[in-house]
């Protein structure tokens, strides 16, 4: 974000009544970068196979080609439905997704080897399912691009989205445990053969709702209340939406025992409020709510206290509750700066290596260097999303893009920070990298919306207006974009 004003295709770069010089769409760049991602992912797969002393055959190249074909499909969908979309977002996502697949395959090999050594049945490989989920995700991606021709239309369905989102969020908490509980967290809908986490989809729907709601009621929130310490506080009655969000977060925490979603949800609402009102006071009020909620949760819930104790010293109870973090730290440390090499470490020693602790698997085998690179890819993805928010002309689009991009940021912060003992562990997945169908599919929908908004931001203004002499033109009131 060094120079947001030079955003390619940003508002500033579009000549008034544009269309004289068609702007480069960036689709060529996108395809080239997707090819680059395919080369990286295929190389990673070859390394895994070599280090695990498995056969190196031309099948690997076919797999790489299939991966490229899959994302070329996505690329074509973008080319067709959002030709001016940001060219970096899709390659970033493709690279993360591909790297995740390689790592999940690598953990499959480890689990199979361990099961064979212990004489147990070899567990079902996760890679196949994740590839299937990737395909489903990309289909949804194309469908969203096709169905949502203009992101502003979404604002019309704000209340519907909010209601559905709320139901999805609350559903697992209200259903009996047999239908909603996996590994102690009640965040699932168990639908026979497969399970989904409705919270992942609720996240997007609620962002749509909040963005639209805040744009509609913006005036309300900026109405000044009392002034304290040079800060304008909002009126007490305007605090209601924040209180509702806070209450929902606490509800999620209590009913679903899901610290991560609770935190994520509240963080996003807070940031959207801040972006809509430009008031720092909202942030401070929100943070004090958060601190209050955290303190109450710490007092009331044993599982929250346990999390905090583990965070303070995971090695105290290494063979018990602290095992996950302890093992993750050992894995990261064993990887060190350069990593053990893909396929040459022992990432399977960390429980939930493919989901919550994907970061320690990557950190062990790719090292600090590899993890830093992954973080940079995420950073590019997020800043591209925020850049679209800056460049898009309508307030709803700005808020929506900000919310979507910030979700990814907050989520990786909470997940990576949790797995590396920066903050207490909460249990969320890394977008695109971790194993998990709901997260993957939902995040593809999220990226499709981001691309849609970035298309709106970069596309030339619709059809050149017939130029009338300035004097005879009707006076038009144009709101200055903030």
């Amino acid at each position: 974000m060094a120079a947001p004003d030079r955003a390619p295709g940003g508002a500033a770069a579009v000549p008034d009544g544009g269309g004289a010089d068609p702007l480069p769409t960036g689709r060529g760049v996108e395809l080239l970068l997707l090819g680059f991602a395919a080369v990286l992912v295929t190389s990673a797969l070859v390394l895994v196979q070599a280090n695990q002393e498995r056969e190196l055959s031309s099948t690997l190249l076919y797999l790489g080609a299939a991966y490229l074909a899959l994302f070329t499909g996505a690329h074509l969908a973008v080319r067709r439905f959002a030709p001016f979309a940001d060219p970096l977002i899709l390659p970033c996502v493709a690279l993360l997704n591909g790297l995740g697949l390689v790592m999940i395959h690598r953990l499959d090999l480890a689990e199979a080897a361990r099961a064979a050594a212990l004489g147990r049945d070899i567990p079902t490989a996760l890679t196949g399912r994740q590839v299937a989920w990737t395909a489903v995700g990309l289909v949804l991606f194309a469908v969203v691009l096709w169905a949502v021709r203009n992101h502003r239309l979404l604002a019309r369905y704000a209340y519907t989205a909010g209601f559905v989102g709320l139901v999805l969020l609350a559903l697992p908490g209200l259903l009996p445990s047999s239908l909603s509980e996996v590994n102690g967290a009640k965040i699932w809908l168990r639908l026979g053969v497969f399970s989904i986490q409705p919270g992942e989809f609720a996240k997007i729907l609620l962002i749509i709702f909040f963005a639209a709601f805040l744009v509609q009621k913006r005036e309300l929130f900026t109405t000044a209340g009392r002034k304290v310490l040079g800060m304008e506080l909002p009126r007490a009655r305007d605090l209601a939406p924040l209180l509702v969000a806070w209450g929902l977060s606490v509800g999620v925490l209590v009913l679903e025992r899901d610290l991560g979603t609770s935190l994520l949800f509240f963080g996003i609402v807070l940031v959207l409020l801040y972006a809509a009102t430009e008031r720092v006071s909202w942030l401070l009020i929100g943070l004090s709510f958060f601190v209050g909620g955290a303190l109450i949760a710490y007092q009331l819930f044993g599982h929250v206290r346990t999390r905090v104790e583990i965070w303070l010293d995971p090695f105290e109870d290494f063979y018990g509750a602290g095992n996950q973090i302890g093992q993750a730290l050992f894995g990261l440390a064993t990887g060190g700066v350069g990593g053990t090499g893909l396929g040459a470490g022992r990432p399977e020693l960390v429980p939930f290596a493919a989901t919550d602790f994907m970061v320690s698997s990557l950190g062990e085998e790719l090292g600090l260097v590899g993890l830093a690179a992954v973080l940079v890819v995420y950073l590019v993805l997020i800043t591209r999303g925020l850049r679209s928010a800056l460049a898009v002309r309508d307030s709803f689009g700005k808020l929506l893009a900000t919310g979507l991009a910030f979700t990814i940021a907050l989520q990786i912060f909470v997940v990576i920070g949790g797995a590396t003992k920066l903050i207490p562990l909460t249990g969320l997945t890394l977008p695109f990298l971790s194993y998990g169908g709901s997260s993957l599919v939902a995040n593809y929908a999220l990226v499709a919306l981001l691309l849609r908004i970035s298309h709106a931001a970069r596309a030339p203004l619709s059809r050149p207006q017939p130029r009338a002499p300035i004097a005879s033109a009707n006076t038009e009131l144009v709101e200055r974009p903030k």
Partner: protein, 489 residues
């Protein structure tokens, strides 16, 4: 609303930077600590995939790895497990490692720099990488005498035997011991069962008493008083009190001789007589006369306060503790109060006296061999300090001969002159009713010492209140010396 979005972007970047900084902390700053944590199985698992080197003593294998057909390709085995457990330690996929398995781990797994050339050629020729081997200084006959001396009597305790001229550790026993084999089993359930049993054992079995535990030295500390005295104006005939009991300076506490007996016939005795009879009152007086600084200096010259000593396993530091007043000085002078030593330290003390006052660094690894069992590094003896001048060492030897003469217990070796000192150290919250720790420190032959030993028997061995260093520890020490002299002659 672009301003807040820009600020949010900056906040996101700050979050990512924070994550990177934390990762750097974990993967760089704390990396070594976490990687070497014994609970981190990764290093062990990697090591199991290649052949680990062997640990041997005088041609006898203490630990080696043989090929198996399961996923962990090699099985570690210990032919004489409990006998050598304090030396080899254990090597477990679940519970980490100890002893030489840990301290010499880099040699055994082949990652030591001295094995670099070999490793490179393994890589180029496609040979399976394998580890180097460690040849210990242990003399199997001495080790067996030491272990059986304790174990056959069902004593908890430790024996350390040194070659006084070099510091080579000839025996290092700790009882009760454990068998490292189940901890190296490929079935984690077997490991867990053994681990839990070993950890629950009482007295503890996993601890290496020779180097990891410290005990009050009791009367064996009087050798240090005497060494200091001989360099500060005293000679063997200097007079000292013969009172059966004295009151500690500025207190109401009485300090008694053993069994409340006076030190010989008269009102005074000599330093020679006081050491031979191990009179507490005389040495309390002597310690007061010498002063804290002199005593500390002498103790340090014998190896007290070395906190980074490695053999290569780390050795717990021996210490005089705090000496706040004269009473404490008097008690410390007879090896009580807060004075604590490892059995190895006591062996080092007598070895230095045997070696004309030169204190040699103790070591357990004689030689490192590459994968073809060709020697690539040999330990050179290393002098730590001149603990006492050669003349003083000679006088001390002479006085210790007098002590041995008065020491009871069986196993005296005809024709061999042993220089020794016993110790019976009180400990615990109720010292008068807790069986004392028994010591015997000695070297032989007195005129040309070839072996120095320290024997510690915890809690009087059979938990008798009457146990003394002479009755419990001395017979074991003499048997060890006999084994040592027979095998080195």
């Amino acid at each position: 609303m672009n301003t807040p979005v820009r600020r949010i972007a900056i906040a996101v970047m700050a979050m990512i930077v924070l994550l990177m900084a934390n990762l750097t902390y974990v993967q760089v700053v704390k990396a070594g600590e976490y990687r070497d944590d014994p609970r981190n199985r990764r290093v062990l698992l990697a090591e199991y995939s290649r052949q680990r080197g062997q640990i041997s003593a005088d041609g006898q294998i203490l630990a080696n790895s043989v090929e198996t057909d399961d996923e962990l390709r090699y099985q570690r085995q210990y032919p004489d497990g409990p006998l050598y457990a304090p030396v080899t330690g254990y090597f477990s996929t679940v519970y980490g490692s100890s002893g030489l398995e840990r301290a010499a781990g880099e040699v055994l797994d082949g990652s030591d720099d001295r094995l670099f050339v070999r490793r490179l050629s393994d890589l180029l020729t496609g040979r399976d990488p394998s580890g180097g081997s460690v040849v210990t200084t242990i003399d199997p006959a001495v080790q067996r005498a030491a272990f059986e001396g304790l174990a056959d009597r069902d004593f908890a305790g430790s024996v350390v035997a040194l070659d006084p001229a070099t510091g080579a550790i000839l025996a290092m026993a700790s009882t009760p011991s454990y068998d490292p084999n189940p901890l190296a089993d490929h079935d984690p359930a077997v490991q867990t069962e053994a681990w839990e049993a070993y950890n629950a054992a009482e007295p503890p079995v996993l601890v290496n008493r020779a180097i990891s535990e410290t005990y009050p030295p009791g009367s064996t500390f009087k050798l240090i008083d005497t060494a200091a005295a001989l360099q500060n104006g005293f000679d063997p005939s200097s007079p000292l009190t013969a009172a059966s009991s004295i009151t500690l300076t500025n207190t109401n506490t009485d300090l008694e001789n053993f069994a409340g007996r006076p030190c010989g016939g008269g009102s005074t005795t000599t330093l020679r007589e006081a050491l031979a009879r191990s009179c507490n009152t005389a040495f309390a007086q002597l310690a007061e006369a010498l002063g804290e600084q002199t005593l500390r200096g002498q103790a340090e010259a014998f190896g007290f306060g070395l906190t980074d000593l490695r053999v290569p396993m780390p050795v717990a530091g021996s210490t005089l503790g705090e000496i706040p007043d004269i009473a404490a000085l008097q008690q410390s002078g007879i090896g009580q109060r807060d004075v604590r030593v490892t059995p190895l330290q006591n062996a080092m003390m007598v070895a230095a006296i045997a070696n004309d006052g030169r204190l040699m660094a103790p070591y357990l690894i004689r030689e490192i061999q590459d994968q073809q069992l060709t020697a690539i590094d040999t330990t050179e003896p290393d002098q730590i300090s001149q603990a006492v001048p050669a003349g003083v060492a000679q006088t001390l030897t002479d006085l210790m001969l007098g002590s041995e003469e008065r020491t009871q217990g069986g196993g005296k070796i005809p024709g061999v002159q042993i220089a020794s000192k016993t110790g019976t150290a009180e400990h615990g919250a109720d010292p008068k009713n807790t069986p004392p720790h028994n010591w015997y420190v000695a070297f032989a032959p007195a005129d040309n010492p070839r072996i120095a030993v320290a024997v510690l028997v915890e809690d009087g061995g059979d938990r008798s209140l009457e146990a003394t260093g002479g009755s419990r520890a001395a017979p074991i020490g003499r048997a060890v010396i006999e084994a040592g002299l027979r095998s080195t002659s």
